[in-house]
Amino acid sequence: MALTRLGPNQSINLASNVTGTLPVANGGTGSTTFSPGKIGQVVSTARSTDTFTSSDSLTATGHIATLTPSATSSKILIILGIANAYVNSTNKDMVINFYSSIGGGSYSNIISAGQVRNDVRTGFGGNHYLYSPNTTSSVAIQTYFSRIHSGTGSVYYINAATDTYTNLTLMEILA
């Protein structure tokens, strides 16, 4: 990289006086020894409609976010922010899972996102998961939910409240 001696109070014109690649140690991007992670794209869907079940097996909430990875090496960071879940007094727990559909196929379970436990009748919370779909087809992520631990009655993925939204966000993490 060419260097220019500067006089007192003289500044460098970055557009015309700098050539080459600035070293990483100086804030540049010239590294060949590592590949820093980057956010490729972000999608988010907000939902506020009452969403309920009395099922003991996992059923779809209809809350879906879809993203098409730009490379098979990309990962998808799934973030769920639950605004207002509800387990009524006659139930034990509610479980919420992440499911995925690749290229428009049927949904299959990825992992449990968590539970709203007994004695927690209303609450907010959430979880996140780093998913490796290994595809460049569209990836739809949907939450599924059910009662768990021999409960009776109904549970709510969303118990609607004014100006309250449950958000499902996907970030493509480039390799």
Partner: protein, 71 residues
């Protein structure tokens, strides 16, 4: 009592602890026909098999509406 609470009370009056999923308020026959009734569990042992056609003879929109109107 909210409309959703009326729905659950009326539904469980017709058939105790029937398994169903849905969203929004159930106020019309169209809403009723969009409910997902659980009929079984898939091979993964986790996921429900559902249908929009109510498989329970004890439950119809007319009977459910009548129970809801009592509340």
């Amino acid at each position: 009592m909210t409309n959703t609470e009326k729905f659950w009370t009326a539904l469980f009056t017709l058939k105790a602890d029937v398994q169903v999923s849905g969203s929004g308020e159930i106020l019309t026959e169209e809403d009723f026909n969009n409910l997902n009734w659980v009929t079984g569990v898939a091979e993964d042992g986790k996921t429900a098999i559902t249908t929009n056609t109510c498989p329970h003879s004890e439950i119809t929109w007319t009977l459910l509406k009548a129970e809801m109107d009592k509340l």
